[in-house]
Amino acid sequence: MSGQAAIRIEQLGKRFGAGPLVLDDVNLSIESGEFVCLLGASGCGKSTLLNLIAGLDRPTTGAIDVPAEGAAVMFQESALMPWLTARQNVELALRLRGVARTARRAEALELLDTVNLADAAEKRPHELSGGMRQRVALARALAQDRPVLLMDEPFAALDAITRDLLHEELERVWRRTGRTIVFVTHNVREAARLGQRVVLLSSRPGRVAGEWRIAETSGRRIESPEVAALSIEITEQLRKEIRRNAA
């Protein structure tokens, strides 16, 4: 895939107030339509980096180029509006995007169908399981119709079976919609399972400590041998980075 860069990060640095440097000299170029996993231990500033890309925060030094349309964001907690049904939650995103009232309903149902939730459209968040809520959140993020989708550990709170299914779901949605996805996780296997590229961030301060490109991305499963092999390799590097903090 050789598109132009969708996100370009140059010599990015971030510190909060007078605190320590959270991100230091991060350089990253993410191509349009690419699926990148940002991986790192706690305190590596993954979420900070994501917030910077999302425009929820400003960098201290350096520059970030993102598409003018901005990015959709999905968080660890689904953060659905509890007083709205699944469909209305998606419709809210459409409404804030400026979609005409008459077109919202059909489009929301279509988006819910994309994540296999057409039957649950009239249910409220508390009637849905954790995995279903995250799928509604995914449909809502898709409703924003932004070229970039940022995901901040969206499946961290789910059980293994559900997470496994959602990996497949996300991969399918990615192939179908051609979105650029930046997926933050602290789960090595998840990164090796999902990404076309895995970017390892070191901790305190966060720097790019390693990169792996995966040539063959279709047909991967969490239990596939190639995923396991890559996980071992990444884990080795990750542990090296963590050990540096002991000194």
Binding site: M1, A54, L56, G70, A72, V73, F75, E77, A79, M81, P82, W83, L92, A93, R95, L96, R97, N116, L117, D119, A120, R124, P125, H126, E127, L128, S129, G130, G131, M132, R140, Q144, I161, T162, L165, E168, E169, R172, R175, R176, E216, S218, G219, R220, R221, E223, S224, E226
Partner: protein, 336 residues
């Protein structure tokens, strides 16, 4: 049975995936061609897998969600309606039995029957209807004024932090102040007019409504605001589409308390401020019965005041609150 289903697919799928991988690695091709093949294979892969995934997900969704149990009307009746009714009936029976056995002076302990007679007398002389209508009209109208005054004030205080720091504690303090304390001042300001009554009701109810709204807004989870911002809502739409609906439970709780304070303040004002152009309300009726040393009439009026308070709560606020909480999953079943 559904577990078997998942396990079966789980062991089946990886092999399918691996076969697909092998197929593609075996076809040696130049880069552009392989990318074309890739999309073709990808398309085939996704239609096959999509159906599989769909059924798998549907199965898991069914396993992970309970079908909502319908509320049983009879159960609701026996668990939440019947107990208080039984209690009241027993109380009245005990009272009547006490009067029969001890035979106290009727001007100190009237029997339930004489209280009921007092109510029906008041009804026949039209005093009861006039009093109830006058009081209800004032209570409801005063409460609505308090809502109209309190809601924008509450919103302003909730959203403007410096203002809240300055005024918030005073509003909380006002909530503690018994609104009867305003009656003398109101009489001096407005004389014996309806304005006095409305002023006291307003001072009683507004702090509760403001405080309810502030605490409702404070309890809005920060991630909902964040999502609103991410979805592209500006300050105005964030307030109307996210913050206000999210703050509704606190607001309704404040309204409910505000009504209780309105009703209490109204009775206090009506008992103290009688005469002038102030009409005949339940409080005035209570005071009149006291002057005539008519204890049965006093008790009858107290019961009517209590009944109206409970009735408004049961008919208006309780269903509103229950419906809102159930929609948000904050109330399970409804019978607990």
């Amino acid at each position: 049975m559904p577990h078997d289903d998942i396990a079966g697919r789980g062991t089946q799928d990886p092999t399918a995936g691996r076969v697909a991988t092998k197929e593609r690695t075996e076809t040696p091709a130049a880069d552009p061609a392989s990318s074309g093949l890739d999309t073709l294979a990808g398309a085939r892969y996704s239609t096959n897998e999509a159906d599989d995934l769909r059924s798998l997900e549907a199965g898991l969704d069914r396993l992970q969600t309970d079908d909502a149990r319908g509320t049983n009307a009879w159960r609701t009746f026996t668990t939440s309606v019947l107990p208080p009714i039984i209690f009241v009936v027993v109380l009245i029976a005990a009272w009547q039995v006490y009067v029969w056995i001890v035979q106290p002076r009727p001007d100190i302990v009237p029997s339930p029957i004489s209280v009921v007679t007092a109510i029906s007398d008041a009804w026949q002389s039209d005093r009861l209807q006039t009093a109830v209508l006058t009081s209800l009209e004032r209570g409801v109208f005063g409460f609505l004024i308090a809502v109209v005054v309190g809601t924008p004030l509450g919103l302003l205080l909730a959203e403007v932090k410096p203002l809240r720091r300055a005024i918030g504690p005073i509003i909380s303090g006002l909530q503690v102040l018994p609104s009867v304390a305003w009656v003398p001042a109101a009489i001096l300001w407005f004389g014996l007019t309806d304005a006095t009554v409305y002023f006291v009701v307003l001072m009683g109810a507004t702090p509760s409504i403001i405080n309810g709204l502030i605490s409702g807004v404070e309890q809005v989870p920060p991630q909902l605001r964040r999502v609103g911002t991410v979805l592209g809502a500006g300050p105005a739409r964030l307030a109307t589409l996210v913050v206000l609906p999210a703050a509704l439970p606190g607001y309704v709780a404040g309204l409910k308390q505000g009504w209780a304070f309105s009703w209490r303040s109204l009775m206090a004002a009506e008992i103290i401020a009688t005469g002038g152009t102030i009409g005949f309300g339940l409080g005035s009726m209570l005071d009149q019965s006291r002057e005539l040393a008519d204890l049965a009439g006093v008790l009858a009026t107290i019961l009517v005041i209590l009944a109206i308070g409970i009735l408004i709560e049961l008919v208006f606020f309780a269903p509103l609150e229950r419906r809102m909480l159930r929609r948000r999953g904050l109330l399970q079943g409804g019978t607990k």
